[in-house]
Protein backbone atom coordinates (compact mmCIF):
# COMPACT_ATOMS: atom_id res chain seq x y z
CA UNK A 1 0.00 0.00 0.00
CA UNK A 2 1.28 3.50 -0.82
CA UNK A 3 2.53 5.50 2.15
CA UNK A 4 3.99 8.80 0.88
CA UNK A 5 2.05 12.06 1.24
CA UNK A 6 -0.58 12.35 -1.51
CA UNK A 7 -0.70 15.29 -3.92
CA UNK A 8 -4.25 16.06 -2.95
CA UNK A 9 -6.96 14.72 -0.71
CA UNK A 10 -10.74 14.72 -0.90
CA UNK A 11 -12.92 13.66 2.01
CA UNK A 12 -16.60 12.87 2.13
CA UNK A 13 -18.88 11.87 5.01
CA UNK A 14 -22.34 10.48 4.29
CA UNK A 15 -25.07 8.98 6.46
CA UNK A 16 -24.93 5.16 6.35
CA UNK A 17 -28.18 4.92 4.42
CA UNK A 18 -28.81 3.48 0.94
CA UNK A 19 -29.97 6.78 -0.56
CA UNK A 20 -26.57 8.40 0.09
CA UNK A 21 -24.39 5.84 -1.67
CA UNK A 22 -25.17 7.65 -4.91
CA UNK A 23 -23.61 10.83 -3.48
CA UNK A 24 -20.37 8.94 -2.84
CA UNK A 25 -20.43 7.51 -6.37
CA UNK A 26 -20.89 10.96 -7.91
CA UNK A 27 -18.10 12.50 -5.84
CA UNK A 28 -15.71 9.68 -6.75
CA UNK A 29 -16.68 10.08 -10.40
CA UNK A 30 -15.54 13.68 -10.13
CA UNK A 31 -12.26 12.76 -8.47
CA UNK A 32 -11.40 9.88 -10.82
CA UNK A 33 -12.35 11.65 -14.03
CA UNK A 34 -9.88 14.43 -13.24
CA UNK A 35 -7.07 11.84 -13.20
CA UNK A 36 -5.57 10.04 -16.18
CA UNK A 37 -7.93 7.06 -15.97
CA UNK A 38 -9.79 5.65 -18.96
CA UNK A 39 -13.58 5.74 -19.05
CA UNK A 40 -13.70 2.06 -18.09
CA UNK A 41 -11.33 2.55 -15.19
CA UNK A 42 -13.41 5.43 -13.86
CA UNK A 43 -16.48 3.18 -14.02
CA UNK A 44 -14.57 0.42 -12.20
CA UNK A 45 -13.65 2.80 -9.39
CA UNK A 46 -17.20 4.10 -9.16
CA UNK A 47 -18.62 0.60 -8.82
CA UNK A 48 -15.97 -0.45 -6.28
CA UNK A 49 -16.72 2.59 -4.11
CA UNK A 50 -20.44 1.92 -4.36
CA UNK A 51 -19.84 -1.67 -3.23
CA UNK A 52 -17.60 -0.58 -0.36
CA UNK A 53 -20.29 1.82 0.90
CA UNK A 54 -22.96 -0.85 0.54
CA UNK A 55 -20.85 -3.23 2.68
CA UNK A 56 -20.48 -0.56 5.35
CA UNK A 57 -24.23 -0.01 5.40
CA UNK A 58 -24.82 -3.77 5.66
CA UNK A 59 -22.50 -4.00 8.64
CA UNK A 60 -24.05 -1.04 10.41
CA UNK A 61 -27.56 -2.28 9.87
CA UNK A 62 -26.61 -5.06 12.25
CA UNK A 63 -26.27 -2.38 14.91
CA UNK A 64 -29.02 -1.09 17.16
CA UNK A 65 -27.94 2.57 17.04
CA UNK A 66 -29.07 4.78 14.18
CA UNK A 67 -27.30 7.75 12.65
CA UNK A 68 -23.96 6.22 11.73
CA UNK A 69 -21.66 7.88 9.24
CA UNK A 70 -19.50 6.41 6.48
CA UNK A 71 -16.42 8.39 5.59
CA UNK A 72 -14.46 8.25 2.35
CA UNK A 73 -10.96 9.56 1.95
CA UNK A 74 -9.47 9.85 -1.54
CA UNK A 75 -5.71 10.18 -1.71
CA UNK A 76 -4.79 11.47 -5.15
CA UNK A 77 -1.33 10.85 -6.57
CA UNK A 78 0.03 11.28 -10.07
CA UNK A 79 0.06 7.52 -10.68
CA UNK A 80 -2.66 6.20 -8.39
CA UNK A 81 -5.87 6.83 -6.50
CA UNK A 82 -6.25 5.40 -3.00
CA UNK A 83 -9.71 5.32 -1.45
CA UNK A 84 -10.38 4.52 2.18
CA UNK A 85 -13.95 3.74 3.17
CA UNK A 86 -14.40 3.81 6.94
CA UNK A 87 -17.33 2.88 9.11
CA UNK A 88 -17.56 2.77 12.91
CA UNK A 89 -17.08 -0.63 14.53
CA UNK A 90 -20.43 -1.16 16.18
CA UNK A 91 -21.03 -3.65 19.03
CA UNK A 92 -23.94 -5.41 17.37
CA UNK A 93 -22.15 -5.87 14.03
CA UNK A 94 -22.11 -9.53 12.98
CA UNK A 95 -18.86 -11.31 13.89
CA UNK A 96 -16.84 -12.84 11.04
CA UNK A 97 -17.35 -16.62 10.93
CA UNK A 98 -14.68 -18.64 12.76
CA UNK A 99 -11.56 -19.42 10.76
CA UNK A 100 -11.88 -16.27 8.71
CA UNK A 101 -9.44 -13.51 9.55
CA UNK A 102 -10.99 -10.08 9.98
CA UNK A 103 -8.41 -8.57 7.60
CA UNK A 104 -9.77 -10.44 4.59
CA UNK A 105 -12.95 -9.80 2.67
CA UNK A 106 -15.34 -12.70 3.03
CA UNK A 107 -14.95 -15.00 0.02
CA UNK A 108 -17.84 -15.85 -2.23
CA UNK A 109 -19.85 -12.71 -1.75
CA UNK A 110 -20.55 -10.72 -4.89
CA UNK A 111 -19.45 -7.33 -3.61
CA UNK A 112 -16.13 -8.71 -2.37
CA UNK A 113 -15.51 -10.38 -5.73
CA UNK A 114 -16.29 -7.14 -7.57
CA UNK A 115 -14.09 -4.93 -5.39
CA UNK A 116 -11.12 -7.30 -5.71
CA UNK A 117 -11.37 -7.49 -9.49
CA UNK A 118 -12.14 -3.84 -10.13
CA UNK A 119 -9.34 -2.43 -7.99
CA UNK A 120 -5.61 -3.16 -8.12
CA UNK A 121 -5.06 -3.48 -4.36
CA UNK A 122 -7.58 -4.06 -1.60
CA UNK A 123 -6.98 -4.24 2.14
CA UNK A 124 -9.42 -4.42 5.04
CA UNK A 125 -8.45 -3.29 8.51
CA UNK A 126 -10.22 -3.26 11.83
CA UNK A 127 -9.07 -0.98 14.63
CA UNK A 128 -10.51 -1.75 18.06
CA UNK A 129 -8.69 1.29 19.47
CA UNK A 130 -10.18 3.76 17.03
CA UNK A 131 -13.40 1.79 16.80
CA UNK A 132 -13.32 1.70 13.02
CA UNK A 133 -13.36 -0.68 10.08
CA UNK A 134 -11.50 0.55 7.01
CA UNK A 135 -11.49 -0.80 3.47
CA UNK A 136 -8.53 0.60 1.56
CA UNK A 137 -8.49 0.28 -2.23
CA UNK A 138 -5.91 1.40 -4.78
CA UNK A 139 -6.23 1.88 -8.53
CA UNK A 140 -3.10 2.66 -10.56
CA UNK A 141 -3.06 4.95 -13.58
CA UNK A 142 -1.77 3.44 -16.86
CA UNK A 143 -0.22 0.43 -15.16
Amino acid sequence: MPTSKPLAQVELCIPSRPEYVGVARLAILGVASRMRFSYDEVEDIRLAVGEACTRSIDRLNGSAAEGHTISLRCLIDANRLTIEVTNPLVPAAPKPPPGESPESLPEGDLSGVLIRILMDEVEAEESQDEGTQVLRMVKYVAR
Binding site: G22, D40, G50, E51, T54, D109, S111, V113, L114
Partner: protein, 113 residues
Protein backbone atom coordinates in the same frame (compact mmCIF):
# COMPACT_ATOMS: atom_id res chain seq x y z
CA UNK B 1 -29.91 9.30 -11.37
CA UNK B 2 -32.73 7.09 -10.25
CA UNK B 3 -34.49 3.93 -11.41
CA UNK B 4 -37.55 3.47 -13.60
CA UNK B 5 -39.35 0.15 -13.53
CA UNK B 6 -41.86 -0.53 -16.33
CA UNK B 7 -43.67 -3.83 -16.63
CA UNK B 8 -45.78 -5.10 -19.50
CA UNK B 9 -47.29 -8.50 -20.27
CA UNK B 10 -46.84 -9.42 -23.92
CA UNK B 11 -48.69 -12.70 -23.38
CA UNK B 12 -50.38 -14.74 -20.63
CA UNK B 13 -47.93 -15.77 -17.88
CA UNK B 14 -45.08 -13.73 -19.34
CA UNK B 15 -43.87 -10.32 -18.14
CA UNK B 16 -41.15 -7.98 -19.36
CA UNK B 17 -39.70 -5.78 -16.64
CA UNK B 18 -37.82 -2.94 -18.32
CA UNK B 19 -35.38 -1.17 -16.00
CA UNK B 20 -33.71 2.12 -16.72
CA UNK B 21 -31.32 4.14 -14.61
CA UNK B 22 -29.38 2.88 -11.61
CA UNK B 23 -29.99 -0.46 -9.91
CA UNK B 24 -28.22 -0.18 -6.58
CA UNK B 25 -28.61 -0.68 -2.84
CA UNK B 26 -31.17 2.13 -2.79
CA UNK B 27 -33.32 1.17 -5.77
CA UNK B 28 -33.04 -2.62 -6.04
CA UNK B 29 -35.67 -3.34 -3.35
CA UNK B 30 -38.20 -1.94 -5.83
CA UNK B 31 -37.06 -4.44 -8.46
CA UNK B 32 -37.28 -7.29 -5.95
CA UNK B 33 -40.81 -6.23 -4.99
CA UNK B 34 -41.88 -6.11 -8.64
CA UNK B 35 -40.52 -9.63 -9.26
CA UNK B 36 -42.09 -11.03 -6.09
CA UNK B 37 -45.46 -9.44 -6.92
CA UNK B 38 -45.45 -10.90 -10.44
CA UNK B 39 -44.49 -14.38 -9.21
CA UNK B 40 -47.14 -14.28 -6.47
CA UNK B 41 -49.73 -13.32 -9.09
CA UNK B 42 -48.76 -16.39 -11.14
CA UNK B 43 -46.64 -14.68 -13.79
CA UNK B 44 -43.57 -16.90 -13.68
CA UNK B 45 -41.89 -16.36 -17.06
CA UNK B 46 -39.94 -13.15 -16.62
CA UNK B 47 -37.75 -11.13 -18.93
CA UNK B 48 -35.75 -8.41 -17.19
CA UNK B 49 -34.63 -5.87 -19.77
CA UNK B 50 -31.46 -4.12 -18.60
CA UNK B 51 -30.98 -2.13 -21.83
CA UNK B 52 -31.58 1.18 -20.09
CA UNK B 53 -29.50 0.36 -17.00
CA UNK B 54 -26.31 2.41 -16.60
CA UNK B 55 -25.34 1.18 -13.16
CA UNK B 56 -25.79 -2.24 -11.59
CA UNK B 57 -24.29 -3.26 -8.26
CA UNK B 58 -24.11 -6.47 -6.23
CA UNK B 59 -27.46 -5.75 -4.59
CA UNK B 60 -29.06 -5.65 -8.03
CA UNK B 61 -27.29 -8.89 -9.00
CA UNK B 62 -28.58 -10.48 -5.77
CA UNK B 63 -32.15 -9.50 -6.62
CA UNK B 64 -31.83 -11.01 -10.12
CA UNK B 65 -30.33 -14.24 -8.70
CA UNK B 66 -33.12 -14.43 -6.14
CA UNK B 67 -35.71 -13.82 -8.86
CA UNK B 68 -34.26 -16.56 -11.06
CA UNK B 69 -34.30 -19.01 -8.14
CA UNK B 70 -37.87 -18.21 -7.16
CA UNK B 71 -39.10 -18.26 -10.76
CA UNK B 72 -37.58 -21.72 -11.31
CA UNK B 73 -39.10 -23.00 -8.05
CA UNK B 74 -42.45 -22.19 -9.67
CA UNK B 75 -41.53 -23.82 -12.99
CA UNK B 76 -40.93 -20.42 -14.50
CA UNK B 77 -37.77 -18.74 -15.69
CA UNK B 78 -36.00 -15.38 -15.69
CA UNK B 79 -34.12 -14.25 -18.80
CA UNK B 80 -32.08 -11.10 -19.16
CA UNK B 81 -31.74 -8.60 -21.98
CA UNK B 82 -28.54 -6.57 -22.05
CA UNK B 83 -26.37 -5.08 -24.77
CA UNK B 84 -24.37 -2.68 -22.60
CA UNK B 85 -20.76 -3.92 -22.46
CA UNK B 86 -20.16 -2.33 -19.05
CA UNK B 87 -23.11 -4.17 -17.52
CA UNK B 88 -22.28 -7.43 -19.32
CA UNK B 89 -18.77 -7.19 -17.89
CA UNK B 90 -20.20 -7.18 -14.35
CA UNK B 91 -21.98 -10.48 -15.07
CA UNK B 92 -18.75 -11.91 -16.51
CA UNK B 93 -16.53 -10.80 -13.61
CA UNK B 94 -18.87 -12.38 -11.09
CA UNK B 95 -19.29 -15.60 -13.09
CA UNK B 96 -23.02 -14.97 -13.44
CA UNK B 97 -23.02 -15.40 -17.23
CA UNK B 98 -22.99 -19.12 -16.39
CA UNK B 99 -26.22 -18.82 -14.43
CA UNK B 100 -28.19 -16.34 -16.52
CA UNK B 101 -29.35 -16.54 -20.12
CA UNK B 102 -28.55 -13.10 -21.48
CA UNK B 103 -29.92 -11.92 -24.84
CA UNK B 104 -29.07 -8.90 -26.96
CA UNK B 105 -32.67 -7.85 -27.47
CA UNK B 106 -36.11 -8.37 -26.05
CA UNK B 107 -37.68 -10.32 -28.90
CA UNK B 108 -34.96 -13.01 -28.68
CA UNK B 109 -35.49 -13.31 -24.93
CA UNK B 110 -39.27 -13.52 -25.37
CA UNK B 111 -38.88 -16.37 -27.87
CA UNK B 112 -36.84 -18.38 -25.39
CA UNK B 113 -38.54 -17.70 -22.08
Amino acid sequence: MNLRVETRKPREGVAVIALSGEVDVYTSPRVKQEIVDLLNAGTTKLVVDLSGVEYLDSTGLGVLIGGLKRARERDGDLKLVCDNLRILRIFEITGLTKIFDIYRNESEALEKV
